[in-house]
Point group: none
Chain length 215, copies 4
DNA sequence: GATGAATGAGAATTCATTCAT
DNA sequence: CATGAATGAATTCTCATTCAT
């Protein structure tokens, strides 16, 4: 069985996520990843240009899958607010259920200067694009405000999600991240101001640990 | 380690910001920084434990100054919303007026695993603390909602600011970042939902370039 | 190892000359040579032991053909001096008309330690043998001096030819190498001393570019 | 004693000659050379750009010394023929008395593509320059022929020397190289042709081993 | 305190070669 | 015979850090 299989490529990516999460990007040795995948070091270079390319590929390829999965789920909802909630919930639960991936995305990936300098457009742009679609649909239906920049709104949502997940990762992933969904959606939708009396309060209880970690 | 010539210490920090911004953390050589500061490489180690410590110190010491300056300005306002606006404006204009520092904080710093693993508590916590104070004051005065986690609100604000600045840095710092202040404060306060009819609309025009970059 | 398709063997040798000349021995990849020959990398190893063997084989096999061709031509002459002139002319014109081969022989081949340590006896020895025969015939006929070592004379001739061709290759193969034949033969025959008044001066004009490059 | 001394540079060069001669250029490890010089591997890179630069530097710097030493000796003679003989003798005895250097110059150096592509002009050109001066002086005094290209004559002399030394190195340095001086000078001066009756025949006996090796 | 020459650990990467198909 | 995916050995070179002066 000596054929260049997509299977092998995937095995390398899986191993990379594991090893990067466990060792950190710099400490991780390519040979470790190869070994974890049951391959020789050189084989990694048959599929990836170098170690950084491996990290970026983890991101891009996982992201692609994530975006299409999220989009499918989000688009099952027709109410923009439900869409937003769906996205937030999936974002949080996605990372919560895959701590290795969370560590890769929130910590290790940022150590790639290529990533930090946004040399990587694909995955992140697609994700921002999905958020943007939700925002646009809400604007069309009059559920979301139109007098503010849609781009800014998009980044507000992404920034909030990213920060919340980062905080969770940094604090040791000890609390229930998904439990923040309700409040986060509420905050994004209604803001922090007390102008409106928000009525429906179900789903707003936050994990105690979460609250402590955020403080 | 704080005795010696404080002057030299500062020269090193200044040079570090410049060199890190220009070269990136990993490409930057300690000897480059020393040369930029007009010193020998060994001298850097009289003031800083190692290269990463230098990066972290840049952050911590600049942050200390920033936090106290921001706090002073913020506290001149008594209305929590004005305080928030003051903070947002200062955050954005602070980075806008010091691109090297912006590059250091938003890009290079994240490449330090010690930072990313939140091994650095001081500066960031203080900054989050300042935001938190604003939030708490707003809650006490009934201007900000109390039924959501104050910690979450704090991170929402920080996450939004951080993402907006990052996007600006990544897109080449080409547009007027401060012009986003009005909309950002509005969004944070009132949310993205169209529940409220927000009245005062002055200060909501956003730089065209900004809008394009955010899309 | 000589069975298989002789055609393929030759294609590989031809490609090797081209690729070695273009890339240099070390930069040249076996896979490049294979590709140039329209074959898979592994196939090269059905015909040659390794990369160095390929280089050596290029030399040996081309040399074999060269020696027999040169010998045939040389032996058509019966005057030893004509024989020498014939050899010099063919040596120079041979390389001049095949720059890739010249580059291989004069530059790349020397980068093989096996060659440089004279681990390769065949081709070169045969060539030296041919020169030797010319020398011996001249001695028998009293045209060439007998009181000096025939071996030394042989190497003198070869050394002169080799150096002249090397200089031509290094200087970019820009001038007419064959134009040196007359003078070179004259010098070899009569020496650099002005003891003799050499009469026949035809064929002694040297290419201007050649003269410049030799200076 | 922590000063960048020329002494250290020289120690490295000496060690390099030894190690290159013993191991060959490619097998030689930089760390071996460093160890031989009593230094850390990294130190070598303080003085030389890389391994090839080290090899080239050995050549250039030794050559410089050689050329000036040879020139001094050669110019003590005023008769061009004596000058030539002096040069040939020094060339042969120089290599004979320093086998490591001979191995470096005749074998290892050629494995550097930078050298083989004449990326190194200095040393060799100077040496050719010295030969050229001898030739020119002989022409002025009517001792050497003027109707042939001086450049060609120069390369003829160099080519002969180079080939003779190479043959000696390849055959194991087993015979007396200097013993070839007389015949070589005679051949260069009077040529291989029997046109002239050369009279003085002293100094023309060649080492038996030499004669065998040249055959 | 300051210097800057010396250190030396450490891992990514290449590519000739193999061998299962 | 031919293939070409997989192998894995093997070493340069960098540069943060030290420490004798």
């Amino acid at each position: 069985m000596r054929s260049k299989t997509p299977d092998k490529r995937l095995r390398i990516l899986d191993s990379a996520v594991r090893v990067f999460a466990r060792e950190g990007f710099f400490k991780a040795k390519v040979s470790q990843i190869a070994e974890d995948a049951g391959l020789a070091p050189g084989t990694v270079y048959l599929y990836f240009k170098n170690k950084e390319d491996l990290l970026i590929s983890v991101f891009e390829e996982r992201m692609e899958e994530i975006v299409s999965r999220f989009r499918a789920a989000v688009m099952e909802h027709h109410d923009p607010k439900s869409r937003l909630e769906c996205l937030v919930r999936m974002h949080l639960s996605g990372f919560q259920s895959d701590p290795d991936l969370a560590a890769c995305f929130q910590v290790e990936l940022r150590q790639s200067s290529r990533f930090m300098r946004r040399g990587v457009k694909g995955g992140l742009q697609q994700y921002l694009g999905l958020i943007r679609e939700i925002v646009e649909s809400g604007r069309r239906e009059g559920v979301f405000r139109k007098e503010v920049s849609a781009g800014l709104v998009t980044h507000l949502i992404f920034g909030a999600l990213d920060e919340v997940v980062s905080t969770w990762v940094m604090s040791g992933m000890k609390y229930n991240l998904v439990s923040l969904t309700g409040q986060l959606v509420d905050l994004l939708t209604n803001g922090i101001g007390s102008g409106v009396s928000v009525i429906a309060k179900q789903g707003l209880e936050v994990d105690r640990e979460a609250d402590r970690a955020l403080s």
